[in-house]
Amino acid sequence: METVFSNTLFFALTVGGLCFLSLGIERHAKQAFGKAPPREPRRARSALGAAMLALSLASSIQTSGVSIGIAVFFGTVAVVSIGVALMLAFRPRLLRFVGAVAAAVAPLAFLAGFFS
């Protein structure tokens, strides 16, 4: 897979995964949506976030090998998590948008990489 597509895929999966994971937490869902959503959609978002994060780890290993892939995954998760926390603190509504964009970009990057 072309490097630019595999990097985009990895980054989109990490950003999307962490956004959805945070939106699965009651306090943050309240910050992003203005009111606490019911339990079921939160569960769904957590599951989606966890799945995207697992795929992001897989894509990182696919790109950089097992050892470096794991290291890169954790490093990126750290940086993006701080970004998500800051967004929740200062621009919580933006998070929904970023999460949606990341979730849309990830499959596109995958397809682009697959057919290139």
């Binding site: 050892s67 470096i68 990126t76 750290a78 940086v79």
Partner: protein, 561 residues
């Protein structure tokens, strides 16, 4: 302030751990801050070193470096049995040539005088380590002309690099022991920190700004938890690197001759066994028949084509001028941690230039692979630019974690201890050390870079003076913090360090370096990167100073922070 812990009564685990976390963290926090900060910068050691040598900023790589390197090596070291050419790369555009000096063939030539070698950025001459690594000599060259560069004397980023594992001025043995103990304490603080943290996953993204102590604690926990794997890995691998020093008996139990390694190079040797690479120093014997060395540029092209255009980092010529000569081309960075991040290699016949079969290297044993993975991660040797940035940012998050932890200690006690006129001595001591240990270290760093550019070229022991300026500035910050009111001291030192660091691009342009407007447009990118980072870091420090200043004047609630 948390209640004092009673050791004569039963107490819950979490309370004991909170006590442990608080006091171990406080005791070694300032040292750990300096170690983490200088260690994070060391991920960019080459780039910082390059910035600190403005006379190199004009160097341009026009792909003729390899021919120049060969010409110089043939002139300077015709009798050497091995040449190593480090090609100009994205991290450092200087061309380095090194040659092996075997006792049997004194290859030192008049042109490589000791003072030239001493001026090379890495010290020029490497002493044999453990009696196994042969002595090498090294020269820095202009990659487009092949001219031997006389580098200005200076401490370079080597000072920051050495400081992060052996401090300065106390001798390497004592310094490494101190840092080793601090790393052990860091592990204690990490483990106890995880135990006392109640909701790692639920609070994973939590940061509540403008809430005094709450915000500081959130920040401390946030940067601690998100990079927890990095903090563990970097601290543990740092200890591992000191393993033979901190636990010598373990090594001695398996290796009887540690002390005598120099006298018995073929005997089992711990360092060589764990790192592998004993074979690197064993040269194939020359045939004794002279033969002209093949052109190196086509060999380099062939290797790079084989790797799909990935760049070569260095070229090793063994037995030059002999019929048994070989040329080995080595990639810039590796693709796995387990084998020490070693790069791909391609071996060529040195006379006719054809590709030779490389013997397949045995995979490292599980023990060696684990050791290699951790140690290589610590040194970032494998890293592509993006990965290097991740390592650096993770290091910065560790630095912020330590700094915010120190501030939390003070903030938690402000209400009970800080309001009174006669605050206890220990409390005031922490206040002073917090300012000079955190903001003061940054002032010293800024002053160090200024000294690097402003001290006169002719100054004797110029590199030592750069280091002296660093410590003088640090000492001055301690005195300042002692005699100023706590909050004023924070604001003033943050402002001063911010100004010092933000002005570095200007100083760079005015003292012979590539100015930012030019380096941004056409390179060198390392200099542009350094200058932009300095601007960003300086702006962040000035912003922090503003926040502390506002908190002081506006909001009584934040004043508690």
């Amino acid at each position: 302030m948390p209640p004092p812990l009673r050791f004569d009564q039963p107490r819950p685990l979490r309370l004991s751990m909170a006590w442990l976390h608080t006091w171990t963290g406080l005791l070694l926090g300032w040292l750990l801050f300096a170690v983490f900060a200088s260690g994070s910068l060391s991920f960019f050691r080459s780039e910082i070193n390059f910035w600190m040598h403005p006379e190199l900023h004009r160097l341009r790589d026009d792909a003729r470096a390899i021919a120049h390197a060969r010409r110089i090596l043939e002139r300077e070291a015709p009798d050497s049995r091995q040449w190593t050419i480090t090609l100009p790369g994205p991290r450092d555009p200087t061309l380095f040539v090194a040659w092996r000096v075997d006792a049997a063939s004194p290859a030192s030539s008049p042109a490589a005088r000791p003072q030239d070698r001493a001026n090379a950025p890495t010290g020029g001459q490497r002493r044999p380590a453990h009696g196994l690594r042969p002595e090498t000599r090294r020269l820095a060259l202009d990659p487009s002309t092949g001219e031997i560069l006389k580098l200005r004397e200076g401490s370079g980023a080597t000072f920051l690099f050495r400081f992060h594992f052996q401090l300065h001025g106390v001798g390497w043995f004592v310094g490494r022991w101190i840092v080793g103990v601090a790393a052990m304490v860091m592990l204690v603080a990490l483990v106890s920190g995880v135990i006392i943290h109640r909701n790692i996953f639920k609070d994973f993204f939590t940061f509540r700004p403008n809430k005094g102590k709450r915000s500081w604690l959130d920040a401390h926990v946030l940067v601690g938890v998100v990079s927890l794997p990095f903090h563990f890995a970097i601290t543990f691998s740092g200890l591992l690197l000191f393993g033979a020093l901190l636990m010598p008996s373990v090594v001695r139990s398996g290796y009887s001759n540690v002390a005598n390694a120099a006298n018995a190079p073929s005997a089992p040797n711990f360092t060589m066994d764990i790192r592998g690479g004993r074979d690197r120093f064993n040269l194939a014997p020359p045939s004794g028949k002279p033969a002209a060395l093949a052109e190196l540029a086509p060999i380099l092209d062939a290797a790079q084509n084989e790797w799909g255009g990935e760049k070569a980092g260095s070229v090793v010529v063994s037995n030059p001028g002999d019929a048994a000569a070989t040329v080995e081309v080595i990639q810039t960075h590796g693709n796995s941690l387990a084998n020490r991040g070693v790069a791909r290699r391609a071996l060529f016949d040195g006379v006719v230039g054809v590709r030779l079969e490389t013997p397949i290297e045995a995979s490292p044993s599980a023990i060696v692979a684990v050791w290699n993975s951790l140690v290589t991660l610590h040194m970032g040797r494998f890293a592509t630019p993006l990965q290097r940035w991740l390592l650096f940012l993770a290091g910065v998050s560790g630095t912020v974690m330590i700094a915010s932890g120190l501030i939390v200690w003070r903030v938690s006690r402000f209400k009970t201890l800080g309001r009174s006129e006669d605050a206890p001595f220990g409390y005031r001591l922490v206040e002073v050390l917090n300012v000079s240990g955190i903001a003061g270290w940054l002032v010293a760093l800024g002053a160090y870079f200024w000294a690097c550019r402003l001290l006169p070229d002719a100054l004797a022991a110029r590199g030592d003076w750069e280091v002296r300026v660093f410590f003088l500035a640090w000492a001055a910050s301690l005195i300042h913090a002692t005699f100023r009111e706590h909050r004023r001291a924070w604001v003033e030192q943050l402002r001063f360090s911010g100004a010092l660091i933000a002005l570095l691009p200007l100083i760079n342009g005015l003292t012979g370096g590539a100015p930012l407007f030019r380096s941004v447009a056409s390179g060198p990118w390392q200099v542009a990167g350094f200058d932009i980072c300095a601007l960003v870091a300086g702006a962040l420090l000035l912003f922090a100073a503003r926040k502390v200043h506002q908190a002081e004047t506006d909001d009584p609630q934040i004043t508690e922070a």
